[in-house]
Amino acid sequence: MTDDQQEYIEQVFERVRNLIHSGIWGEIRLQRLNDWIGCFENHNAALLAAYLLDNLCFRSRDQFTSMLDVLFSDARVSLNGSGLTLLTDVLKKVPTGKALSICIAPVLGPSSPPTKSGPYILRLAQRQFRMKPNWMSWPAHIHYGADLSNVIFVDDFCGTGEQFCEFAAEIQLQERHEQFPNIQFWYYVATIHDKGLKTLTEKLPFVSIRYAEHLTASSAVFSDECFNRYQIPGFQQLVCSEYDRILQAAQLPTRGTFADGFGKLSLAYAYAHATPNNTLPIFWMDTVNWTSLLDR
């Protein structure tokens, strides 16, 4: 290893320790980080570990609060022909009348396990903005009627868009749209990937999408675009070869659904409360030979 590589590795590791120590990556425990790095070091792949950590986007609880802020603070809806600020004009006030004009629900289909993030995100948002709970509902219990003008589905992450499409099918969203063409459907998602955005725009064009962060192909951590920032000859090959070696040694998937993250998005992106499965399994998968850094 060259001096430069050694120093890079030490710099990144020191930085990450500081990020944990200062609370910016507060929910990651130092010991867990050390254990994960240790796995790489055992296989002489410290450079890979440094590269992955250098490019990891970890959204702590506090950072996520800021993302919810982006999602909700300036959001506007149209009600009876007039434009309203969602939070101040609607959600912070108690609804008048029997039927709701606006309904906000988590992305959680009836057959989904209760561990999905949707309800948690909604709860966070409700507390953060002091929304009146009266506006909230389970997706299966939304009362579709003449009074309802806006339905907002809330979730944290949209990768390929498959999950939301499945959810939409489960709650028969397309049918609802055809039945009530005047209802504006919204999908408020904290982070969306380009792939998901395209899928949804194609398959569910009547759903308006609002997001705080937008990932693209260059977010893939082994993409050329990502490596292009490092204009160091041979660096990409070195890191990729270490990665291939680690996958073998750690018995992490090289084929199948989760190799390269679900949908092959190859992300290095995670929240404190959950890690999308589009993120590389090297971060979140435990095997006999491998300790994870993050929890799914």
């Binding site: 001096d3 050694q6 120093e7 030490e10 020191e14």
Partner: protein, 656 residues
């Protein structure tokens, strides 16, 4: 405080406030400063971490008249210190708008006047802070401050101290308000510093018996950050200062950009002021002082004083300084105790460790093997390694790469050594010259493995030079394992922990260079380039120019711009000047610039002043003022040159 590991966390004076009474260890040079005898202005020069600010806060009234002080000796009244730290960003705004520089100078003068007057009032108030003090000193009702300076203002100025203090505060707020709308046609009433302050002092001396002979010594800190006209104005104060009002300034090295005053004459050293360099004054006794400080901090953090070889009161007693310096057994106890807690290894012991460590000894064997092969010899590497002679074994790695020695010769000298015969290893100083470099050479590729050379009280001292802050930070990171007093008697920091602390501190302070002054970014780049060059040199197996940590410019002097950068590098303690420039025959040689040893652990180089790197003018110019590409080229040039010739007086760029 039960956690002794926190004893060294605070390493800046700012964190201790203005009143240092009870927390300040008098530096060994305190008496030599002669601040109590002052009749002439003093220019105090000290880099970061030199203890300059702490010293000034100690001599200011805030500490001298501290409410924590039980008995104030008469000597404390001789020179009453008024300490003013120039807030740079604030005073830099004393310019511009539609106001010319001359007027700004008056406004600056007025601002100083108000601040210093407030300080005089503060001195009186702090002194008379309790009923007992008022009984002992008091007499404040005799003061007619308004009467003393009434002639300078159109307003009615209150006479009584407290009301006068409020009035001054209002004037300061008035100035502050004026800054919200800087315009020449509604300036507040401006006062002239020497007259106004002089009159106040006169009033104080005439009426307060305990201050009838007092001299007021103004210390203005961070002088180097003031604007040019502000420096000239202070220079005038220095020149014109005489008892009972004297002006002193404190600054970093090379901080005095001009000797001009606002008049026609310039100020001159000796005639108008004495220059005291705190770094130079501290150096001879840094060993004693740093050890004293170490134990003092532990006591302050809660360690019972009985467990340490110092006495807190002695360290703060001006009359005991000489005792501290001359008492041999005191010094002996101190050094031996701190060496127990921060033990170092002798070079020989490190050599033994290398031989016993599988990774390091493999590396040594490879180095030796390479050297033998280079010599086209067929001797076995094992012949040059002997556990009984670790130092010589290590040094062989270098010797075998030197073209002036053959493998056979080295082996024969090694045999001599082993058999008690005269040997170049000892008598020819081979071990003496090459051991440190060879040790570093063995550790060279293992950057994450901190070399034991950087461990130990003695190493810590060498790394910090005279920088108290660096020393304290080294202790801080090394002693995090210390918790309670009960552990103390057996407590000792492991070599590895100390060496790792040194590496971390080295990186920490290297990163801080970017924030140093106008050229911080450039200075950091220079540290990186020079560090890398010295590391390149350190990595050469022949070690024929061992322990390179400083350079001089030869043949051609550098441009003014480069001189400016050099001056900044010295100011911010990136380089230290070791020797003056000279002309050797027809060859020009500049000052010798030593890289701050605190960077040594990061680059894996020595902290001693070893061999010199002679840099031809154009290369030095590139290093000081060049572009990123120039740096890359510079490093490549040396890399190529040093890869091909094992032994060189650097001839790059030189004419024959």
């Amino acid at each position: 405080m039960n956690n002794l590991g926190q004893a060294f966390v605070r390493n800046r004076t700012e964190e201790f406030g203005l009143d240092l009474w009870g927390t300040y260890v008098l530096p060994p040079y305190y008496e030599a400063l002669g601040l109590n005898e002052v009749g002439k202005s003093v220019v105090l020069e000290g880099g970061r971490g030199s203890g300059k600010t702490a010293l000034l806060r100690y001599v200011s009234y805030n500490s001298q008249f501290s409410s924590n002080r039980n008995d104030i000796p008469n000597s404390a009244f001789k020179n009453i210190g008024l300490y003013l730290k120039a807030d740079t960003q604030y005073f830099s705004a004393y310019s511009g708008g539609d106001i010319d520089e001359r007027k700004w100078q008056d406004i600056f003068e007025h601002s100083l006047c108000l601040a210093l007057t407030e300080q005089v009032v503060g001195a009186l108030t702090t002194l008379n802070c309790s009923v007992d003090r008022k009984a002992k000193y008091g007499q404040l009702e005799k003061l007619d401050l308004g009467g003393a300076v009434g002639g300078y203002s159109n307003e009615n100025i209150p006479s009584e101290l407290e009301k006068f203090e409020k009035w001054i505060r209002l004037r300061r707020q008035e100035l502050s308000r004026w800054f919200r709308n800087v315009e020449s046609n509604h300036l507040p009433e401006l006062f002239s510093l020497r007259e106004f302050l002089g009159a106040i002092i006169q009033e104080v001396r005439s009426n307060l018996t305990y201050m009838k002979d007092s001299i007021f010594a103004v210390y203005i800190d961070e002088y180097e950050n003031l604007l040019d006209y502000q420096q000239r104005f202070l220079n005038s104060l220095i020149k014109g200062g005489e008892p009972p009002l004297i002006f002193h300034v404190a600054m970093k090295p090379n901080g005095m950009r001009t000797r001009q005053t606002i008049g026609t004459e310039a100020i001159q050293e000796v005639a108008d002021f004495r220059k005291l360099s705190l770094d130079i004054l501290l150096e001879p006794e840094f060993e004693l002082f740093s050890a004293e400080l170490f134990f003092f901090r532990l006591v302050r953090a809660g360690l019972p004083e009985g467990l340490v070889p110092i006495n807190s009161e002695t360290l703060q007693d001006e009359s005991k300084i000489n005792d501290r310096l001359t008492n041999k057994s005191y010094r002996g106890r101190l050094i031996s105790e701190i060496n127990r807690i921060l033990p170092g290894l002798k070079y020989g012991e490190i050599a033994t460790i290398i031989l016993a460590d599988s990774v390091l000894s493999t590396r040594l064997k490879k180095l030796i093997g390479d050297g033998i092969r280079q010599q086209s010899s067929r001797l076995a590497a094992d012949k040059f390694i002997d556990k009984e002679y670790p130092e010589a074994s290590i040094v062989c790695a270098a010797l075998l790469h030197q073209s002036t020695k053959t493998a056979d010769e080295v082996l024969s000298q090694f045999e001599n050594l082993k058999n008690g015969r005269p040997s170049n290893f000892k008598d020819g100083d081979w071990v003496h010259h090459f051991l440190v470099g060879s040790i570093l050479l063995v550790y060279f590729p293992y950057r994450q493995r901190a070399c034991p050379l950087y461990a130990g009280f003695s190493a810590f001292r060498s790394l910090s030079k005279t920088n108290v802050r660096h020393f304290v930070e080294l202790c801080n990171l090394a002693t995090t394992g210390l918790r309670t007093a009960s552990e103390f008697a057996d407590f000792s920091v492991s070599i590895d922990t100390q060496a790792e602390a040194a590496l971390r501190v080295s990186r920490l302070f290297k990163n801080e260079v970017a924030g140093c002054g106008d050229f911080g970014n450039r200075l950091l780049a220079i540290v990186n380039v020079m560090g890398k060059l010295y590391r390149l040199s350190q990595g050469k197996p022949a070690q024929s120019e061992p322990e390179r940590t400083h350079f001089c410019v030869i043949n051609a002097a550098v441009t003014d711009e480069a001189e400016r950068v050099l001056s900044e590098a010295v100011k911010w303690s990136v380089f230290f000047i070791q020797d003056e420039s000279k002309v050797k025959g027809v060859r020009y040689e500049s000052n010798e610039y030593v890289l701050n040893p605190i960077f040594a652990p990061f680059f894996g180089i020595s902290y001693n002043k070893g061999r010199k790197l002679e840099m031809p003018g154009p290369q030095a110019e590139a290093m000081l003022t060049g572009t990123v590409q120039d740096y890359t080229n510079l490093l490549k040039t040396y890399e190529r040159a040093w890869a091909t010739s094992e032994d060189e007086q650097l001839t790059l760029g030189l004419e024959d």
